[in-house]
Subunit: 240 residues, 2 copies
């Protein structure tokens, strides 16, 4: 019951709806009757909403999701610096943490003329395909790097790093520069520059600025990104 109801909620990934009863049922491999009952109960509770054109994830889920203390201190410390960074660059700013072999984005500031990006707050992307991911990887210790190299590297675009040697090279450069660059490895036409955020000696998060390739001027962006990441690290150490 409980587990099945969360299966139903997961069926709404990644769009949040709308889905029709039948869609949900077959995504979950559940009988229509059961799905119907679950959706009805979830709707009573407010976890999903039903409208004319189907079911959606509901407000109750939104409200609870907002208070998940996931990296709360981190986000609290980071947001002002992210806004400053956005103000300085007017480009999309991301904050991400590592979960397993993925990046999970926990904050995002998007510019008005921002181009379409595959990232989304709460969403995941492979560590090796993103600037934030590579920055985290480079500062997370050799065990993680080995674990990543142990399995085939995932690819999002033709430019994604899939050669283990190239990845090791890239990690070396990141460690030397204190910054990670990414060009069209996550999104055709997009590039980004990322810097790690440290707390108590560990890279707990990373910050990035994403830019359409034609506007990508690493030397101009680097100091701002580095300064913001440093600022967040300092703010973090003050909170504890």
């Amino acid at each position: 019951m409980l587990e099945k109801s969360w299966l139903v909620l997961d069926a709404f990934r990644p769009t949040g709806g709308p889905l029709r009863l039948t869609d949900v049922a077959e995504r979950c491999h559940l009988p229509k009757t059961t799905t119907f009952r679950l959706l009805t109960e979830l709707a009573e509770i407010g976890a999903v909403a039903r409208r004319e054109n189907g079911y959606y994830l509901g407000r109750r889920l939104f409200e609870l999701g907002c208070i998940v203390p996931l990296e709360r201190d981190l986000r609290h410390a980071a947001l002002p610096f992210m806004h400053d960074l956005y103000e300085a660059t007017h480009e999309t700013v991301h904050l991400g943490v590592r979960d397993g072999l993925d990046v999970v984005y926990v904050e995002k500031i998007r510019g008005q003329e921002a181009f379409a990006l595959p990232s989304r707050v709460g969403g995941r992307l492979p560590l090796t395909c993103t600037g934030i991911g590579k920055a985290l990887l480079a500062y997370s210790g050799p065990e993680l790097i080995e674990e990543v190299l142990a399995r085939p590297l995932r690819r999002l675009t033709p430019h994604s790093i899939v050669d283990p040697r190239r990845l090791e090279e890239a990690i070396g450069q990141i460690q030397a520069a204190g910054l990670a660059y990414e060009r069209e490895e996550a999104q055709p036409g997009g590039a980004c520059i990322a810097a790690p955020v440290f707390h108590e000696g560990a890279a707990v998060a990373a910050l990035s600025v994403s830019v359409p390739l034609p506007r990508f001027h690493p030397t101009r962006l680097a100091p701002a990104v580095k300064a913001a990441a440093l600022g967040i690290s300092r703010a973090l150490s003050r909170t504890i």
Copy 2:
């Protein structure tokens, strides 16, 4: 089972944790045994996380909460204007919608030196105590106003409006000015100015700038807020 599990999740409001087993049990008025089983199952699922010092709301909830399409178009249209408004004022910017007799905040941009505010994305406050709430109320039709007036007005501070006559007056002024002001009605020492966002003739949301009272200069803020709200309204009409 399903309903009880959501009771358990609600027990984490408004902080998200940490809570000990016993705390959750008595908040929910459930036997400890039952609570224990529910928390264990929820933890397996990822809806809550257990650490040394207690239970927290978990990552799964965060990820699902992020994709709730609640006002998604609205937020998407509004964010760039909110960033601009923040940039122009460097004060906290809110976007809220109405749910019943509450405001639900759906976006918030907070300045670095922002003072403590009772608002939180996903959180609720009474319509009548906030600038956003009053702006929504003033443009939501007489039925809602009557419904609000029918029951005793809630108060957050000594300055909250609790006299029905004063509320009606205030609504009149808001309708005349197209802007709602609020001084220490939600938070001692805080003031705000809010403007409604329209879509297809209805006030679907409202935008506000919150300022510490000493810095509150309505005449300087008003044009920016009004312009941003108008911009969002225009952007909304373009999306559909």
